[in-house]
């Protein structure tokens, strides 16, 4: 569920063609905003997916997460049993939960002096609303929780889910992220940070002017490779490593050392050398600080091999969906490996000597990559990196 379409197929079609979903914001009053553009999920009718009662109970972020999970679970073809439901985990990422519902209801109270708050406000705003709804819809009774680590939320969630499945703590996991951030209050708060671009998102380009906010959800179904092979499942890709670190440096300024440590930890967890990586789906927000810091971190980890890497930021197309960003980028990365087609960095115009990587400017590239990294680096200095491998190793 993304600004590039409501299904994985539509999302991949846009990402693989380098088409951006960034445009004028439609859900908020733009006259009160300095920036005008965002990456909104367009053409979304809640009643197409939910009963009216459920629409009242679920903030948009939880709806997005639920719809994405339905698609992932249906596509996985998993055959539920009572035992499997107990042995399945759901770990989601969401940075802000149902803050749009909070904004709406508190406005009623503060501005309109309406003393009655919608009784569904609390269940709508809680960060675990999507995870809980998914568990109820599918009767999943194992560990279910939400991770909130700003822009790294869903990479942390996916990494945790991966470790739980790999360790045998869970047989199956549904994991990803969901976010719906387009409320005026929240956008004004981002505006005040002065990191939002007045036009579009141009990661790694010299003339980049900031990030473009996005929204949506993406969910993955994880299980051990052997189990997936045994039941004849469609295997989109493998997760083979997860690494995380904290900068312990600054609440908003990124540090190349912290990012580098997370990438190294992920490579070590995957038991591969830096030289085996072919593609990186970058955090690539398009801010002045992130893109040169991330470039420095990549150069630090990969040394001379950095020159052989293809690196792109798909945020140039789906925007920065904060706690759902890593999940969307995981989907983009897995499908890039599967289809042997690396998505470009869209909206790129001018090389920046401080971002001197091969960033696949504007046009997708045919390339059979084996291993890929997907980076997420959050405000608060929290870094989470996933390693993906193309499906089909060992003849599978």
């Amino acid at each position: 569920m993304s600004p590039l379409g409501h299904t994985t197929g539509e999302f991949w079609k846009s990402v693989s063609e380098g088409r951006s979903g960034i445009g004028p914001l439609e859900r908020v009053d733009r006259s009160l905003l300095r920036f005008q553009n965002g990456a909104e999920v367009r053409g979304y009718d809640p009643l197409r997916y939910f009963e009216p009662r459920d629409v009242n109970l679920l903030d948009l972020f939880a709806q997005f997460g639920t719809v994405a999970a339905r698609e992932a679970i249906a596509d996985s073809g998993v055959a539920w049993t009572g035992d499997l439901r107990e042995r399945t985990a759901i770990i989601t990422g969401s940075c802000t939960g149902g803050q749009s519902s909070e904004d709406e209801q508190f406005l009623e109270l503060y501005r309109n002096r309406n003393p009655r708050i919608n009784p569904f406000t609390i269940p709508r705003i809680m960060g675990n609303a999507a995870a809980s709804r998914i568990s109820m819809e599918h009767g999943i009774t194992g560990p279910v929780y939400n991770v909130s680590t700003a822009c790294s939320s869903s990479n942390h969630a996916i990494g945790q889910a991966f470790w739980m499945v790999r360790s045998g703590a869970s047989e199956l996991a549904i994991t990803g992220g969901a976010e719906a951030i387009f409320s005026l209050g929240f956008l004004k708060a981002w505006e005040a940070m002065r990191v939002v671009s007045p036009d579009t998102c141009r990661p790694f380009s010299k003339d980049r002017r900031g990030l473009i906010l996005g929204e949506g959800a993406a969910m993955l179904v994880l299980e051990p490779l052997d189990a997936a092979v045994a039941r004849g499942a469609t295997i989109y890709g493998e997760i083979t490593g997860f690494g995380m670190s904290s900068d312990a440096h600054h609440i908003t300024q990124p540090s190349p050392e912290g990012a580098a440590r997370a990438m190294r930890a992920a490579l070590a967890d995957a038991r591969i050398g830096a030289g085996e990586v072919d593609y990186i789906n970058a955090h690539g927000t398009g801010t002045a600080a992130n893109d040169c810091t991330e470039t420095a971190a990549i150069r630090c980890v990969f040394g001379a091999h950095a020159g052989n890497l293809a690196v792109s930021s798909t945020k140039s197309m789906h925007g920065h969906a904060l706690g759902a960003a890593g999940a969307m980028e995981a989907v983009a990365t897995v499908l890039a490996l599967r289809h042997e087609l690396l998505p470009p960095t869209a909206n790129y115009t001018t090389p920046d000597p401080e971002c001197d990587l091969d960033v696949i400017p504007n046009e997708p590239r045919k390339a059979a990559a084996e291993y890929a990294l997907s980076n997420s680096f959050a405000f608060g200095g929290l870094n989470a990196v996933l390693v993906f491998h193309k499906a089909g190793r060992n003849g599978n």
């Binding site: 006259s31 009160l32 300095r34 505006e191 940070m193 002065r194 600054h250 908003t252 300024q253 002045a288």
Partner: protein, 88 residues
Amino acid sequence: MPDELIQRVISVIAATQHIDAKTIAPDSTFEELKIDSLDGINIVFALENEFNISIPDDAAKSLRSVRDAAEGIEKLLESGSGPAPAAV
């Protein structure tokens, strides 16, 4: 530049950073005052409120000293930038 304007800028910076205004000179740089980029946007926010102006992002990011801030504000006041569209 009017002395009054620079003194108002210094007062805003002192209040925002919780430092003594006497430690801030017109030519103090943000670096000397240990003002990082995040502090910088907080100061810009406070200056917008103080002078009822709207400071564009690019200008906000280029501030490096007290004098930069005062000069920028003087220009905005002269050009009659008016209240920030957001300041409602």
